[in-house]
């Protein structure tokens, strides 16, 4: 085959050809982990498509053969997923098509390839320095169904806690639903560890998978998974990318565990990460009374009394700080946001009007809490089956997305002991002294390590 590559442990093509996502799936297969059967149309086909405005000669024949093979492997006409994915991740910018009958696969491939060149995708590449000529790969796989029965579901799992770096599995699971419902935030997810009781075999399989991918990548990892009728399937793996104190703790712990050397640990943390560590966070203590979790949209912690309307926020702010809690943000809320210390919205993502406005005003913000309700008439907000009256003191963390009842402890160096150790190693490497700024100590070590 010229254009198409099997999704198999033997496939040796690079992420340049397969795209980052499919390359990760090949890694999973090599580790003996369960991945739904499928194949990859390499980025070369996309480049040919972009140059000529049509699918390259011979791709149709290869595609028919690959689909036949997939049908033979699954023993029935499979329902397909067709996903885009280039060498560099471009989350949400390109098309993914799910629940596709076999005969629709060619037009779906054309649609996915075309999505490389939408203005929005071009803008994303311009901003992130991704060359326009790379093109996307297309991964075609048999669908697995998290909504098959009551032993089905989907979720995301981290090998370590991405907020703190703590070495414990962390994530979310959605019972009886498909994975796109988890990612979109449309549905209410449960903490990952609930799998342990409800689906012990899936939980055991997932722990094993997290262990194996960490061993392979020698880094904290993120898995997307679906379980169908009790069988676990992995849909994506991604190493690293933790921020701030979590990045510091993971690098230090990995060195202590012997997974990486101290030099490597130092190089895993950029001096910029240390600026992140200085952003105030709600202390990740067990006693914190978490009302809800959303997405952090503007970093920082705000503490204040709940206000359910902009007018109430403006009025209540005269007597001390308030946190504005709204279903979404409209221009009618802006004077309330201006008066508030922070904002929470049920809808929206990190790139929503609410998030943009909160950042413009420098107000800590949490967005995208699927089950948050705002009852203006009843002067209360609700989440997770609890109701909190207007005027209740809450704290919000615009980095981790936590909404906490009361006044929890706020810290700027949750990674304290780990950061201290890491910077000690940095001084050993650079021969410097600890009386310099943290970022400078790390940068000095990087300079030495970079020349070894």
């Amino acid at each position: 085959m010229t254009w198409i590559h099997p999704l198999a442990a033997e496939t040796e093509d690079s992420a340049d050809v397969l795209g980052g996502q499919a390359h990760g799936l090949v890694d999973l297969l090599r580790l003996g982990l369960p991945v739904p059967p499928g194949f990859v149309i390499g980025t070369g086909a996309c480049r040919a498509f972009l140059a000529d405005g049509r699918l390259p000669d011979g791709l149709d024949v290869e595609l028919a053969a690959a689909v036949d093979e997939l049908e033979a492997a699954t023993g029935r006409p499979p329902v397909l997923s067709v996903r885009s994915g280039g060498r560099e991740s471009m989350p949400g910018m390109m098309t993914t098509i799910l629940n596709l009958p076999v005969r629709q696969v060619e037009p779906a491939v054309v649609e996915v390839l075309s999505s490389w060149d939408t203005p929005r995708a071009q803008t994303y590449r311009e901003l992130h320095g991704i060359p326009h000529h790379l093109g996307t790969a297309v991964t075609v796989q048999a669908m697995v169904f998290g909504n098959r029965d009551h032993h089905s579901g989907s979720g995301v799992a981290f090998s370590r806690n991405p907020n703190t770096g703590e070495h414990a599995p962390f994530g979310e699971v959605l019972f009886g639903r498909q994975g796109d419902d988890v990612v979109s935030g449309r549905s209410l997810t449960r903490p990952l560890h609930e799998l342990a009781d409800r689906e012990p075999a899936v939980w055991a399989g997932l722990l094993d998978a997290l262990h194996r991918v960490e061993d392979h990548y020698r880094d904290a990892c993120h898995l997307e998974f679906t379980f169908e009728a009790g069988a676990l399937w992995l849909l994506q793996v991604r190493p690293g990318r933790f921020a701030g104190d979590a990045a510091v703790r993971v690098a230090t712990d990995l060195a202590d565990e012997g997974a990486i050397g101290r030099g490597e640990a130092l190089l895993r943390v950029s001096p910029r990460q240390l600026q992140h560590v200085r952003i105030p966070r709600i202390a990740p203590a067990d006693e914190a009374d978490v009302l809800a979790r959303g997405l952090g949209a503007c970093p920082g912690v705000a503490v204040g009394r709940v206000a359910t309307t902009a007018d109430n926020a403006a009025r209540m702010a005269a007597d001390g700080p308030v946190v504005l809690v709204r279903p979404a943000t409209s221009p009618l809320d802006l004077h309330g946001l201006a008066a508030a210390a922070g904002v929470v919205t049920a809808r929206g993502g990190p790139a929503s009007h609410a998030a943009v406005v909160a950042r413009a005003m420098g107000k800590p913000a949490v967005v995208g809490i699927a089950d948050l309700t705002v009852d203006v008439a009843g002067a209360a907000v609700g989440a997770g089956g609890r109701t909190v009256p207007e005027g209740t003191r809450i704290a919000i963390d615009g980095t981790g997305g936590e909404v906490v009842v009361g006044s929890p402890r706020i810290v700027t160096t949750a990674a304290g002991p780990h950061l201290h150790r890491l910077l000690g190693w940095a001084d050993e490497v650079s021969g410097g002294t600890p009386d310099r700024p943290e970022a400078e100590r790390l940068a000095a070590a990087h300079a030495v390590l970079g020349h070894r």
Binding site: Y124, L127, S270, P331, H335, P350, A351
Partner: protein, 209 residues
């Protein structure tokens, strides 16, 4: 889709009421800028609207004009009536579809203006890299050019939408000439005007946010 007839002209009192509906609580200057009318005329209309119980004024340093519940209801009714009378619902709905194609990209651009990924870490953009800022502004300029068709179709159907084209152009020109606040931060920034256009389209078509 372009409206074939002459554009519908909105009466001055509704223009002022609806400006307040789309921009939220604001001082006289901002209401006048949104409505595209001289401040004394707008003040006179606001006082009449206040007498009718549709708007209210709060005094003080952070004071300004805001819509009352009654004002919001009357605006919804009159704006819906205007759309039906003018027969422009189909044109406005088509323009809204065009707007929704551009909106995620505009929000991406605003986010990129505020936050930046360096060494794999997302941090606040401190605007110390003119090359990066120029890339964002170039893409914003390109998006603004593509927004032209949406604005033109809206303005051809209803005159009151003309103000958005003027205000977006002003914000972009100002940002390009070095006023960094006019991308996302100021009350006349590109994002705020765009956000108000979004609100206007929702309010005009009667779509809940």
């Amino acid at each position: 889709m372009t409206w074939p007839g002459p554009p519908h002209a909105t009466s001055t009192d509704l223009l002022v009421l609806h400006a307040l509906r789309c921009i939220g609580f604001a001082g006289l200057g901002r209401v006048a800028a949104a409505a595209g009318l001289p401040e004394p005329d707008v003040e006179s209309e606001l006082i009449d609207l206040a007498v009718a119980g549709l708007v209210s004024h709060a005094a003080g340093d952070f004071g300004g004009w805001g819509l009352t519940e009654a004002g919001r209801a009357v605006d919804a009714e009159r704006i819906a009536g205007e759309l039906e009378t003018a027969g422009t619902r189909t044109v406005v709905a088509a323009a809204y579809d065009g707007f929704l194609v551009l909106n995620p990209e505009l929000l991406d651009l605003c986010t990129a203006w505020q936050m930046r990924s360096v060494d794999g870490v997302v941090t606040l953009n401190d605007h110390s890299d003119p090359g990066y800022d120029a890339r964002v502004l170039d893409r914003l300029t390109d998006l603004d050019r593509r927004a032209e068709a949406v604005c033109a179709d809206l303005s051809a159907a209803m005159l009151r939408f003309r103000r958005y084209r003027v205000r977006l152009t002003d914000a972009l020109a100002s940002a390009r000439s070095g006023a960094l606040d006019d991308v996302t931060d100021s009350t006349a920034s590109y994002h705020i005007v765009w956000f108000q256009l979004h609100e206007d389209l929702l309010a005009t078509l009667g779509i809940p946010r």
